[in-house]
Symmetry: C2
Subunit: 177 residues, 2 copies
Amino acid sequence: MSLKYAILVLLRSEPGSGYDLAQRFKLTLGNFWNASHQQIYLELKKLSEEGLLEYTVEHQTDKPDRKVYSITSLGISALQGWMRIPVSPPRINDAFLVKLYGAQPQDLEIIRAELVQHRIIHRQQLEKFQALEQFFIQADVARRREFQMPYLTLRRGIKSEEAWLSWADEVESTLFQ
Amino acid sequence: MSLKYAILVLLRSEPGSGYDLAQRFKLTLGNFWNASHQQIYLELKKLSEEGLLEYTVEHQTDKPDRKVYSITSLGISALQGWMRIPVSPPRINDAFLVKLYGAQPQDLEIIRAELVQHRIIHRQQLEKFQALEQFFIQADVARRREFQMPYLTLRRGIKSEEAWLSWADEVESTLFQ
DNA sequence: TCAAACATGTAAGCCGTTACATGATTCT
DNA sequence: AGAATCATGTAACGGCTTACATGTTTGA
């Protein structure tokens, strides 16, 4: 639904190819918006057909050709229009919580092992966010202003992971002590 | 993908109709697993065809007939099998964060209004969770043991909403002061 | 009288994932 | 020699949403 607008946001700040966008997703929006490269290529195609994007084929001697997409004025209008339409808070589908909810005594050891695995993932995610935060904090005022919005989304990620880890502690001490 | 197992979890603890399940979802798993009634009816049909569920038609004089589904032994095995397979942490698709990430100075007032709306939703959600928590805390030991797993998922909801609200405070004081 | 709750579904379409497919260059 | 990175896609399938569809009873 709004992969469309996520792409428009990224291309408004700088043109790029499908491959570029997939990379930029990982570093930025990817923390709160999921998108595979297949989906991105498909969406880029659709958006050009709709006239929200245009592209030029860049020939490269050393690497394969790449299609560089830019946002059109129609695309910018579409994005500005979307900004004004309220969105719903995200729907959550958390399979691990379904498991925990339905766990019986015989399942506890498995749950524990899976909790350990998830904890590793969340811890790593948190550390990645904290490293990015350090860059922001150490930047000069101009850069801090420039990256204010990305920084706020980063703060969301940090608080979210901290909350998860703190919950995991609660679960461990409730079930396994 | 695991709506299937969410339904099996609910039906293992008690048989019920599609309508019942839709209600039970709202009160329990619905906080971390989304499911519309259409989806539930479809899935119930599929699961009976697979032999994981069976149903009897209950005729009611005062209300429309209802199909009451129960889990079969095949269903119980499928659920136990699923418990042993690790699941991935949920993918997040948060449109509001995309907006915030891409917001320009002229969008700030709209963002502020939308933040206010989201805050109301999250606050209400938190209050609902806290009310449920009170029931648990005031229950006797036997009931607290019975509802230990649902309680832990409730704690997840509480921490998650608290983290969101605390982040919203940060956003407000960063952007609007 | 009208809304809400009870009760169960079908159909169309979109969105997204997984798997498949190809091929060059660069680094270890 | 093999893995990783650069680069772009198609196809099949499944999951989920939105809209459509119908009809009863109870309470305000």
